[in-house]
């Protein structure tokens, strides 16, 4: 028994707790964050093309100093991205929206939820406004898993970042969605995108 415990303990990571002040991560630029989002959410034109007055809050270098105003995404970045996401999710019902949603959910889950939809088509609006709670539990879990996989990466990648685990994150997201009784599927997607796209695992590399 003692030997078993000893073996078990030795498999724990030997790295010590450390400061988070500067964690050797590189953040994507504001334009890259928007382009990355555009793979999964149809970004509105005024988000894809960053306006001049949003350049500094999105981390683009100031030509005067050669440096960004803020070394990491800040509140202004979050606000700007949030409004882009909130607008963008409504564009799933436009032409081309289906392809982006398929990128997130994967071809199998997408077909299960929305049927065979041609490329460059829109997603059926009616299927986006059904209550989240009306979906089978297994489907809800699969949706969350696919969103986490698409936005943040595989279990190994999330572990490499060391901030959380895929299991923990999926459980937290599911629990948060369960508490929001009146959500429809589209709102749930928006909730997931907002929570995932503002994490370090999505914003940096």
């Amino acid at each position: 028994m003692k030997q078993g415990v000893l073996i078990f303990l030795m498999f724990f990571s030997l790295t010590s707790k450390a400061a988070f002040e500067e964690n050797a991560r590189r953040y994507s630029s504001g334009q890259e964050i928007v382009n990355s989002l555009d793979m999964y959410v149809p970004m509105p034109p005024n988000c894809l093309q960053i306006p001049d007055d949003a350049r500094s809050s999105l981390g683009l270098n100031s030509p005067l100093s050669g440096n960004p105003i803020s070394p990491a995404p800040n509140q202004a970045t979050i606000q700007w991205l949030s409004q882009c996401i909130a607008t963008g999710v409504n564009f799933y019902v436009n032409a081309g929206g289906a392809e982006k949603l398929r990128n997130v959910l994967g071809p199998e889950l997408f077909a299960k939820m929305f049927g065979e939809v041609p490329a460059n088509s829109a997603v059926d609006t009616m299927k986006l406004v059904v209550p989240w709670s009306s979906l089978e539990k297994k489907i809800r879990e699969e949706i969350v898993a696919q969103f986490v996989f698409s936005f943040l990466g595989s279990n190994e990648t999330i572990l490499d970042y060391g901030l959380t685990t895929s299991e923990k994150l999926r459980a937290q997201l599911l629990a948060a969605l369960e508490k929001r009784n009146s959500l429809v599927v589209l709102n749930a997607f928006q909730f997931l995108i907002l929570n995932l796209a503002l994490r370090d695992e999505f914003l940096s590399y």
Binding site: A19, R26, L48, G66
Partner: protein, 492 residues
């Protein structure tokens, strides 16, 4: 049996630690995609990686994928944006469906940079290039075609970038390719483009020094700060010569004429002007546009190991050739690539620098080939690290010491590299060097009688910076791995 299990466990733990730094293949793919293209890998690419892992060919898959990414226009655009930031321009970032950005390509500067990158030409062509694609008609306030027309170049109609032109532009949307002879002294890549000229505006008082400073910063990573002027009188006289060319008068006459001139008296002014003024003369006849005739000047600076560089220039052509032949140019450009693709937070040691110089030359200075090498380095594949306090402190202190190496690398090479940790292979050498550091910084008296930096230096560490150095010394001067170079508690 127990012994075998213990040994096996010990091996497993050590190997876990050895591999603990390298990220998973999934993470490596993600990092490749984001670092090169600026976007995550697609689902298909991730599936491809899983198949490759199952077949034991993950490393080969990642290498091939990196090469594929480097052919993608998004990768070219990302690198182009880095160059925009380096030149301190507003990086054009809007993306349109065909993968090109409008603003980046519809000007001579943008077309040149994109051409060098997308065709993987020598990086030197950014500075030595003699061909431009410019629009002959007026576009907004830009008169790009007129900028070159005055020089009577050869030109032809060019439609290579026509698909990225603004559809709303005038009916004549054909661009023009301007070609100049290889030995044309009036032309030098990005330095002789309308965009560079309008970014670094000249005035009668400024005398092109702003442009000269930009050339030094972009090509040689010389930011004109923390310089100490020449101490010996012969070097001082040479400095005067280039700031105030005297053409046939005697040395005494020059000294007398300088006595009433503040720029001649002030050593800290001289320390930059001896470089800026002769280079500014190359821009001499070019105010808002290029001069029809070249203007002579000189490339002057103190290179590594106190090497005095003093190259007369007939014009821009000589400038570009002279710049790209300097070892400082190569070091500067590879440091840019390191910062862009590996990260400025990753220690850039002398050994790494030496290796990268060889690779840069081996790849014939082609940017995409060089990047393909950079992303195979073990440091690129490392997991995102959470730094310990000592690791963080070492990086902060090295950043401060870079202000010291800007002089000690060039003028006073009798000091070891303060930015390369640890400070020697054995404890005696490290102790001696750290003791010297404590002495010249006067750590004991909080810097009250510090010999370094010198009194006439333009830079001094701030209170916070000094406190960081003291803390670092107190914690045993830890290296980048957080390992104390000295015993803990021996800082003062």
């Amino acid at each position: 049996m127990k012994k075998i299990i213990s040994i096996a466990l010990l091996f497993l733990i050590l190997s876990q630690n050895a591999f603990a730094q390298q990220s998973s293949y999934d993470t490596q793919l993600l990092k490749l995609a984001k670092a090169i293209k600026g976007e995550p890998a697609t689902r298909e690419e991730r599936s491809g990686l899983q198949k490759a892992i199952a077949n034991g060919k993950a490393d080969l898959f990642l290498q091939e994928t990196a090469k594929k990414y480097l052919q993608d226009p998004k990768a070219h655009l990302k690198l182009k944006q880095k160059v925009d930031e380096l030149v301190r321009l507003n990086a054009q970032t809007s993306l349109i469906n065909n993968g090109y950005t409008l603003g980046s390509i519809d000007d001579a500067y943008g077309a040149l940079v994109f051409d060098v990158i997308s065709k993987n030409k020598s990086w030197d062509d950014l500075f030595k290039g003699k061909e431009y694609i410019a629009h002959p008609m007026t576009r907004g306030n830009e008169h790009e075609g007129l900028f070159y027309d005055r020089l009577n170049p050869q030109y032809s109609e060019d439609s290579s970038f026509s698909e990225v032109l603004d559809p709303a532009s005038p009916a004549n949307t054909s661009n023009r390719k301007y070609s100049f002879p290889a030995d044309d002294q009036r032309i030098a890549g990005i330095f002789t483009t309308p965009r560079f000229f309008s970014r670094y505006v000249n005035t009668a008082l400024n005398k092109n020094r702003r442009r000269a400073a930009a050339v030094f910063r972009i090509a040689l990573c010389d930011t004109m700060i923390a310089t100490v002027p020449a101490q010996d009188s012969s070097s001082q006289m040479r400095d005067y010569d280039t700031i105030f060319p005297h053409r046939g008068v005697t040395e005494d006459q020059v000294r007398k004429s300088l006595a009433g001139n503040i720029h001649g008296q002030q050593a800290d002014c001289r320390s930059c002007h001896y470089k800026l003024d002769p280079l500014g003369q190359v821009f001499g006849y070019s105010a808002a546009t290029l001069g029809v005739e070249p203007s002579a000047g000189a490339l002057r600076f103190r290179g590594q190991d106190n090497r005095a560089v003093d190259i007369p220039l007939k014009g821009f052509g000589d400038l570009a050739n002279a710049l790209t032949e300097q070892p400082e140019y190569v070091k500067c450009q590879i440091s840019h690539f390191w910062r862009w693709y590996v990260g400025k937070d990753v220690p850039f040691t002398k050994e790494i620098e030496s290796d990268l110089i060889k690779k840069f030359e081996f790849s014939q200075r082609r940017p995409l080939d060089f990047i393909a090498y950079l992303v195979t380095l073990p440091v690129f594949k490392e997991k995102p690290q959470i730094l310990t306090e000592d690791q963080l402190l070492s990086r902060q202190v090295v950043k401060i010491f870079k202000n010291c190496t800007s002089c000690h690398d060039s003028q006073y090479a009798n000091v070891w590299d303060l930015t390369s940790l640890p400070y020697g292979d054995n404890i005696e050498v490290r102790t001696r060097r750290i003791d010297l550091l404590k002495s010249v910084l006067d750590i004991k008296n909080n810097g009250a009688r510090a010999e370094m930096p010198p009194k006439d230096s333009l830079w001094r560490p701030s209170q916070d910076e000094f406190a960081s150095i003291v803390k670092w010394l107190d914690r045993g001067a830890p290296d980048f791995q957080g390992k104390a170079q000295l015993e803990q508690g021996e800082g003062k």
